[in-house]
């Protein structure tokens, strides 16, 4: 009898199952089926489970635990509120993205009634309220707390701003029976980023409240826990793979590119400090585990947005077909379209190349050259990823491609854009078995097992 963990990803399109032999640290089988959130989430799960059972001897395997992550029903929708756009607004956005949320919009300065109405209309799952360093500005966060207390009762609020206002905010929220929690300031001092406490609170609320509201109650009864949103599981996997566990080392700095139908996610696990001497680091501190999401770069739902973001000229660099716009529009309208011929495949790969290139351009830091009386001086904004050791690809188009390295190479440093600090010569690896989110879940219980499996299954080309 083999002891196994069943790891489940309730994705927006597919429910994906990964069955892991936790003793021999091996993948027993994987399977998927369409996610059925409109009817009953368990229909899709059962279908996937049936597919899974066909792939192994059910008498030989005992499932000892079932863990899940979810991005079904639109994922975890958040808005964040801060004070100055470049500071606490950006800090709170980074914290929410790192927790796997979809950040629909960010708000700065004092909220207006129209903005409150917009927030109510957006039907978000969690609101993150920040603003002010500890001991800094209190006027704005107090104003915003009062506005929230007046109009928004039912949405969970996480307060992560100037701690000196917490007593007063508590009074305001208690009096209005607002559903809220406090955590540490997301930017306690100027340009110092403190995302981990916020990430943890988001995960707690996700586990407690969000599951119910997404019609996933029944799934929650059957499995041992829906632990986190899917992107947070991928980031967790990246953290373990990069940093290792208490017992063994990880593989070092890495970047994960995940090209989906609606978005392209980039995760970097790296400090991103300057790799050359004499560079002046500017702006808000970067999180070690950083996630960015490009909502306008995707293979299907966002194909048309990709066309608009990149322009026809850029796509033409990769594929020369006459009907680029028509094809993008078709893909946008047919999100379950599977390539039918060689041109379709080549077109998908061209879109994936554009998505990789643009997503990495936006994720990586950049240099700004200042011509001073003392000569050329370089300012660095964001992360320097030039020397990052590994570039890992995941997502359908990469996993199924015959030339995944050609897609990922579009994310490398380019002499034609020398100020963008993308990796120069990383080792390229592919998540062929599509296990990253599953390993992020497994890492919660068995980090060493997850690390060993990733080292074994996520391979160099």
């Amino acid at each position: 009898m083999i002891d196994a963990y069943l790891l489940i990803d309730f994705g927006s399109t597919y429910t994906k199952l990964t069955l892991v032999d936790v003793v021999n640290e091996a993948i027993i089988a994987t399977a998927k089926a369409i996610t059925t959130v409109e009817t009953n989430i368990m229909d899709g799960f059962n279908k996937a489970y049936e597919n899974l059972c066909a792939k192994f001897d059910t008498k030989e395997v005992r499932i000892i635990k079932k863990l899940a992550c979810s991005s079904a029903a639109g994922g975890l929708k958040m808005i964040t509120i801060g004070l100055v756009p470049e500071l606490t607004v950006e800090a709170s956005k980074r914290a929410a993205l790192g927790a796997g949320a979809r950040v629909l919009k960010t708000y700065s300065f004092e909220l207006t009634n129209a903005e409150i109405q917009e927030i109510l209309n957006a039907k978000v799952d969690i609101i993150l309220l920040s603003g002010g360093t500890d001991g800094g500005n209190s006027k704005t966060i107090l104003h915003n707390a009062r506005k929230i207390a007046e109009h928004i009762k039912h949405i969970p609020i996480i307060v992560a701003g100037n701690k000196c206002c917490y007593d007063e905010i508590k009074e305001i929220f208690d009096e209005a029976s607002v559903n809220y929690v406090f955590t540490e300031n997301v930017m306690p001092r100027l340009n110092v980023l403190n995302v981990v406490p916020v990430r943890e609170k988001i995960r707690e609320i996700f586990m407690k409240n969000i599951i119910k509201s997404k019609g996933m109650d029944e799934a929650n009864n059957y499995i041992d826990g829906i632990l986190m949103p899917t992107p947070a599981a991928v980031l967790k996997a990246g953290e373990i793979l990069s940093q290792g566990t208490s017992k063994q080392n990880g593989i070092g700095d890495l970047i994960i590119v995940d090209i989906g139908g609606a978005t392209t996610d980039v995760h970097s696990l790296a400090d991103g400090h300057p790799t050359k001497a004499g560079i002046n680091l500017k702006g808000l501190q970067e999180p070690f585990a950083k996630r960015t999401v490009e909502g306008d770069l995707g293979m299907r739902y966002s194909a048309l947005a990709l066309y608009e973001a990149s322009g026809e000229k850029l796509i033409k660099e990769y594929i020369d077909v006459p009907d680029i716009e028509t094809r993008c529009a078709y893909l946008h309208d047919h999100i379950d379209y599977v390539p039918q011929d060689d041109t379709d495949v080549a077109f998908d790969e061209a879109l994936a190349k554009v998505a990789t290139r643009l997503a990495l351009n936006r994720h990586a830091g950049y240099l700004e050259i200042a011509y001073t009386p003392l000569g050329d001086i370089f300012n660095q904004y964001g992360k320097d990823l030039l020397e990052t050791k590994y570039l890992i690809g995941t997502g359908g188009v990469i996993v199924h491609s015959k030339h995944p390295e050609a897609i990922l190479k579009e994310g490398l440093y380019s002499p034609s854009e020398p100020t963008i600090l993308k990796p120069k010569d990383p080792i390229i690896k592919i998540d062929y078995e599509y296990i990253l989110s599953a390993m992020g879940l497994l890492a919660f219980d068995l980090p060493d097992c997850a690390l060993n499996i990733m080292k074994r299954y996520i391979v160099e080309i």
Partner: protein, 139 residues
């Protein structure tokens, strides 16, 4: 030294990389009980102003050592007003202009730009702190 409850934003404006004086100013202000928010060298007006908003600063102390302060500081007071920092104290010091100029004229030009205090080359930070404490009602 105990905190005196006042927050000051310091930094070196423009394309100016003189870092040593900036560290000395931070050290002395801190030892005098100020909460110092240092935006560092090569800082834009926006860097100073954003920091002052988030930290609810009482004063902004601008350093410039390379002679281009007059260009770098144009519109600084107006931007502070626009950002809601209406009564914030603005000081400037260092080598703020080039050439041999009558400092009284220089001071007048910077005061017209909205700076509350303007310091000639060679003035020690201790002098500035005396003024700062007076202007903030600490003495």
């Amino acid at each position: 030294m105990n905190s005196n409850g006042k927050t000051v934003v310091i930094g070196v404006i423009g394309a100016d990389v003189h870092a040593v004086g900036n560290k000395i100013i931070e050290h002395v202000l801190t030892s005098e009980g100020f909460n110092v928010v240092n935006v560092g060298v090569m800082s834009s007006q926006e860097d100073f102003i954003n920091a002052a908003i988030e930290t609810n600063a009482d004063a902004i102390l601008v350093s410039s050592l390379y002679g281009h302060a007059e260009l770098d500081c144009q519109g600084f007071r107006e931007k502070c007003n626009e950002a809601g920092l209406t009564n914030i104290l603005l000081y400037i010091g260092g080598n703020i202009v080039v050439g041999k100029q009558d400092f009284a004229e220089v001071e007048e030009r910077f005061k017209k730009m909205g700076f509350n205090r303007v310091y000639a080359p060679g003035v020690r930070i201790e002098e500035g702190i005396k003024d700062l404490k007076k202007d903030l009602g600490l003495v």
